[in-house]
Every structure is written in structure tokens, then in C-alpha cells.
């Protein structure tokens, strides 16, 4: 059992101790699911993988933080020139409620670029059979992957909001007062981030699950988030109509515009008041989208042959 390793060991001091058994703990299914969840979250940002895998997610995350960094710069200049920060804040600078509309394009691109990394790779390289041959079940695998991606999206949403929050509070002359002023926005920020994560994450992961070829998956994901929005905008622009007013709900981005307005308590799309649906409609549409995509995605992995 202690035969020296002959080839490939330049030092000559490495000894093959032979194969040894493992008597330690086996943490089972729950642990495997948690590990896959965190692996999915990390790989979405390219962590634990090569440099090339990090470029797209990090670039898009930086871009998504661009609007809040811009606001931060304005606030710094305002503070420097002695103007009251609160005055500047009052002067039409976007707040937490404007973050969704100014970052949604980057979120869309992030989904298109990263969702196929999780589901496409496993299918292209035949790795699924290695997962399914382990302590996991097919549903465990699917949900761990999806919720890892959803969590990555929630982080992508919260990051710019956090930067904005820190800037608004620390650059204010009355830090404690500013903290108290901004704190009540937190539930809305978190709620919107989770909704965006679930709906965009669920839909893009479902498309990625059915489209192992990466290029098609990217195109499909971007198309699903962009095209219905254009359709809805065109129809709304034509004026009020019985069906057209509801068609806005086929667009994930419009639905999330609606939930954003309701959660932050701001008016939505004042130019087209007729396109405003009842508050509950936006949440119902988001819920249907989330549950529907989860069901379709689970179906894919329950039936796929490995």
C-alpha cells in the first residue's frame, strides 16, 4: 500500500497511501440541496469558475449600480457646494421607486446571460445524470438551481438600492433623521426585489431549461422580456380598448412596473390612466407567472431522460 508514485511526481517524496474508506458523516439530501443552492448562486456570478465566467455578471451588476452611483455623485457635489442635500433630493432625483425602471434593462440582460449558465451547461455536457444519481431528487435539483438564480437576482436588485440608501443617509446633514426618513421604504424595496427575482428568475430559468443551446436561450429570454413590453406599449399608445387595457399584463416588465408603483405608492404611467389596472391585478399576474414557470420547469426535469 505504500508503493512510491513513479511517474509524474517530480519530488519523489509523494507516496501513494492507497485508497482509503470514508467513515465520516453523510449529511444527506437536505445538505446536498443547500450545497447546490449556494453553488448555483455563486456560479451565477461566476464565483468558483474562471475569470471569463465572471466578466458578464460583474459587468452587468456594475451597470445596474450605475444609476445609483450617478445619483451619489450628484449628492456629493451638492453637499460640497453647500446646498442642502434635502433640497437636491426634492429636485426630481430618482428615488428607490425609480430604481426598477432604470435598471430593468440590465436585469433582462443578466437573465439572458446567466440563466443558461446554470441549466444549459448541465444538459449540454450530460452532467444531469451525475446529479440525479446522487442523494438529490429531480425536484430538489430543479428548485435548488432556480432559487439560487432567484437569490442572485434579488442581490442584483438590492445592491443599487443599498448604494442609494447609504449615499442618501450619509451625505445628509441630519444622518439620524435621514435614516428614519428612508427606513420605511425598506419593505417596498425588498418586496419589489423578491418579485422581480421570482418572476424574471422563474421565466428565464424555464426558457433556459428547455433550450440547452446557449445562443437560443439568450435570444429567447431577452425576447420574452422585451417583446411583450413593446406590444403592450403599442397597444396602450393606440388608446383605450376593452381587451387592450388588460394586455399590459402579458408583459413581465409591465407587470413589475405595476407592482413597483403599488408597493412604493407612486402613480403609474400618468399619460395613460386607462392602462392602470387594479392593484391586485399586477400581483395576481406576477403570481401566475411565477407559479406557472416553476411548474413548467419542474415538468422539464421530471421527464427529461438521462
Amino acid at each position: 500500500m505504500t508503493a512510491p508514485v513513479s511517474a509524474g511526481s517530480p519530488t519523489g517524496s509523494i507516496y501513494d497511501l492507497g485508497y482509503r474508506g470514508y467513515e465520516g458523516p453523510r449529511l444527506g439530501r437536505g445538505y446536498a440541496v443547500r450545497s447546490l443552492f449556494s453553488h448555483s448562486l455563486r456560479s451565477t456570478y461566476g464565483l468558483g469558475r474562471g475569470t471569463r465566467a465572471k466578466i458578464a455578471p460583474f459587468a452587468l451588476a456594475v451597470l445596474a449600480c450605475g444609476p445609483s452611483l450617478g445619483i451619489l455623485v450628484v449628492l456629493v457635489f451638492a453637499a460640497r457646494f453647500g446646498e442642502q442635500v434635502s433640497d437636491v433630493l426634492g429636485a426630481n432625483l430618482p428615488g428607490y421607486d425609480g430604481m426598477w425602471s432604470s435598471t430593468s434593462a440590465f436585469v433582462t440582460l443578466f437573465c439572458g446571460a446567466q440563466a443558461p449558465e446554470l441549466f444549459g451547461r448541465d444538459q449540454r455536457h450530460g452532467t444531469l445524470s451525475l446529479y440525479f444519481a446522487r442523494a438529490l431528487r429531480r425536484t430538489d435539483y430543479t428548485l435548488a438551481r432556480i432559487f439560487g438564480f432567484v437569490t442572485a437576482l434579488v442581490i442584483l436588485q438590492l445592491l443599487p438600492q443599498l448604494i442609494l440608501f447609504v449615499g442618501r443617509v450619509l451625505l445628509s446633514p441630519d444622518i439620524v433623521g435621514a435614516f428614519g426618513r428612508d427606513l420605511p421604504s425598506f419593505p417596498a424595496i425588498l418586496g419589489q426585489a423578491v418579485l422581480v427575482g421570482l418572476l424574471y428568475g422563474g421565466v428565464s430559468m424555464t426558457i433556459a431549461a428547455y433550450t440547452p443551446r446557449r445562443a437560443y436561450a439568450v435570444a429567447g429570454i431577452v425576447a420574452v422580456f422585451v417583446i411583450p413590453g413593446i406590444v403592450a406599449a403599442v397597444i396602450t399608445g393606440l388608446g383605450s380598448s376593452a381587451i387592450g387595457d388588460w394586455l399590459v399584463l402579458i408583459s413581465p416588465s409591465s407587470v413589475l412596473d405595476g407592482t413597483n408603483a403599488v408597493l412604493f405608492g407612486v402613480p403609474l404611467n400618468p399619460d395613460f390612466p386607462f392602462a392602470q389596472r387594479p392593484d391586485i391585478a399586477y400581483f395576481a399576474a406576477a403570481g401566475i407567472g411565477i407559479v406557472g414557470s416553476l411548474v413548467i420547469c419542474l415538468r422539464r426535469f421530471l421527464t427529461i431522460s438521462v
Partner: protein, 328 residues
């Protein structure tokens, strides 16, 4: 109870293909060869035992646990090396094997330690930090074996482990399987269509054909058959066959070679002398490897010139499946 117990297992794929047809067999510890030609149902059987696919009817147990309901519990202690490519090319061997150690429930530190150990065991050293995309087929097969071993399974399923390997790579892989199975006592099932390879590492054989059990018996009873000697000459094949037949050997022309049925006798000298006598250009003489087709086919695949003696096609009567138990 046996390690693996299969009862009347049937699998029909949508589209009407029957991969398994009422298969019943008991498999116990040891290195077990699962042999059959392509499409015989080997991979299907392994996948059902792993819970990767459901059987159409029948039951199967592994470690006395039902594969249909206790899949997760079984798989914690089973390693699986699939037939097809299953490794992401942009990850390193260390990353992949450590990741699948976690997926088998090993704590992080143990996963790292086991990964280093098991990669060393399969013979991957410095290259284990490089991306798998740059590996040779032999190295990829080693990584596939390593990920199946990393959680120290009680039972190992290897599906065509020598696929795509050159002769040296095959020898090394078979040696690895042999060491893993004997020195470390991991029960191993090796599915292969190459009987010649499998008989080098296994001590028990399960032969299936068309989804049915042909035989399950210790290796020895399979290899009592003496096989054939193939003589390749550049010309004068018919004359050689006639002369050998006249000398009392069973010889026939099969394509470019003259095939001689070997009984207990070893007529190598006679063949050599006959070739020399006829002045034929001899290219090679080789003992034909046993192939499943040779042992189990009902009629030779050749042109029908020759029919093998009945004792070749029907070796010994197959024992009842349930009594088949290899020595452990």
C-alpha cells in the same frame, strides 16, 4: 438477502422498444460483469437500479431497499460512472469531483480531502487543476471513475468504463477497477459488451440479451469454452482449410481468415507446418477473443458455410436465476 435483487423487471420505452423483458436476477458482492451486446438492456438495468428511470413493471431492491421508493437513500451509497460524456469542459477535475462529493452529502472539508485522495487513486496528479476540456479520453474516464468513488460508495456501477480507450488505457482502467473492487471491497458492477475485457476483472458474470437473462454464473463456467484460432494468410485460404480439415481439424474460411475450432488439443504446430508445406504467406495467427456473439448466438454471423457444434452455442444449461450467487 442479496445485494441487488431484481424480480420480473420490465422496461418499455415510449415508442415500443422493450429494453428489459421480465428480468430476474440476484447479484451479490464481488466484481460482477454485466455483459450483453449493444441494446441488450445493460444501461437500462443500471439506471433503474439507480432510480434514474422507472421500471414499467416488476421490482428491484438494492441494499434491501426498493429502488422505486428509496432512491435517495440508496444513491447515498452508490457510485455511478455513466457511459456517455458527463463532465463540464471548463471546470477542473478537482472542482467537479469536489462538487459531486458535496452533492453526495460529504461535508466541505471531507469533500476536499476525499477529492485529493480519490484523484490520486485514479492516477491524476498535477493535471487535476487544469480544465477538463484539455484532457485525453483516458483522463476523462479516470475523472468519471473518481466522481463515482469520491463518497466511498458501498456499490459501484460502471457503464462501459473502457469506452474510447486505447489498449494501454484499457489495461490501466481494468487494473484500477480490479484494485478498487478487490483491495477496497467495493461491490462493483461493470457493464460491457466486451467479454474479453470483463473476464479479466470480474469473478461473476451476468449475461443478458434482448432484455432477458441468459446466464448468471461465476466467471469460470463461462470461459471453459476453448474458442477459436484465426489464421490469416494472404492467399490460399481454401487450400489451407481443406488441408487442415483433412488433418482432422474443424476449419472453415471466414472472410480473410481461416478459423479453426480449438478443442482440448492445441494444434499450433500442425497449422504452422501446414502453412509452410503449402508455402502460403502467413500474416498472423491469433486466438480469437471470446465475444458474446460467439458464446451466445444461435447461428454464426458469417455466410452460413459453417455451423458451430451445438456445445458451443448452448454452453451449460443456465442455472435458475434466483440461485445465482457469486463467491464474495
Amino acid at each position: 438477502m442479496a445485494l441487488i435483487s431484481v424480480r420480473s423487471l420490465t422496461k418499455r420505452y415510449p415508442g415500443g422498444v422493450t429494453a428489459l423483458d421480465g428480468l430476474s436476477v440476484d447479484i451479490d458482492r464481488g466484481i460482477v460483469g454485466l455483459v450483453g451486446s449493444n441494446g441488450a438492456g445493460k444501461s437500462t438495468l443500471l439506471k433503474i437500479l439507480l432510480g434514474l428511470i422507472d421500471a414499467t413493471s416488476g421490482t428491484a431492491t438494492v441494499f434491501d431497499l426498493d429502488v422505486a421508493t428509496k432512491g435517495t437513500d440508496i444513491r447515498q451509497f452508490v457510485g455511478y460512472m455513466p457511459e456517455h460524456d458527463c463532465l463540464p469542459p471548463d471546470a477542473s477535475a478537482t472542482d467537479v469531483v469536489a462538487h459531486f462529493a458535496l452533492m453526495s452529502g460529504l461535508p466541505k472539508a471531507a469533500a476536499r480531502e476525499r477529492t485529493a485522495e480519490v484523484l490520486r487513486h485514479v492516477g491524476l496528479y498535477e493535471e487535476r487543476y487544469r480544465a477538463i476540456g484539455g484532457y485525453s479520453t483516458g483522463m476523462k474516464q479516470r475523472v468519471k471513475l473518481a466522481q463515482a468513488l469520491v463518497h466511498d460508495p458501498r456499490l459501484l456501477f460502471l457503464d462501459e468504463p473502457t469506452n474510447g480507450l486505447d489498449p494501454a488505457g484499457r489495461d490501466e482502467m481494468l487494473e484500477l477497477i480490479h484494485r478498487t473492487g478487490t483491495e477496497f471491497g467495493i461491490a462493483t458492477i461493470v457493464a460491457s459488451h466486451l467479454l474479453g475485457e470483463i473476464e479479466r476483472v470480474c469473478n461473476f458474470l451476468v449475461a443478458i440479451e434482448g432484455g432477458k437473462l441468459l446466464r448468471a454464473a461465476p466467471l469460470g463456467t463461462f470461459t471453459e469454452q476453448t474458442g477459436f484460432l484465426a489464421v490469416e494468410v494472404e492467399e490460399g485460404r481454401d487450400a489451407l482449410a481443406q488441408h487442415l480439415a483433412a488433418a482432422g481439424l474443424e476449419a472453415f474460411v471466414d472472410g480473410k481468415v481461416v478459423v479453426i475450432t480449438l478443442g482440448d488439443a492445441r494444434p499450433y504446430d500442425l497449422v504452422r507446418d501446414t502453412v509452410a508445406e503449402l508455402g502460403l504467406p502467413l500474416v498472423r495467427m491469433e486466438q480469437r477473443r471470446h465475444r458474446l456473439e460467439d458464446l451466445f448466438r444461435d447461428a454464426p454471423a458469417g455466410d452460413g458455410v459453417w455451423a458451430p457444434p451445438p456445445d458451443l452455442t448452448a454452453p451449460t444449461p443456465p442455472p435458475p436465476a434466483s440461485s445465482a450467487t457469486p463467491p464474495s
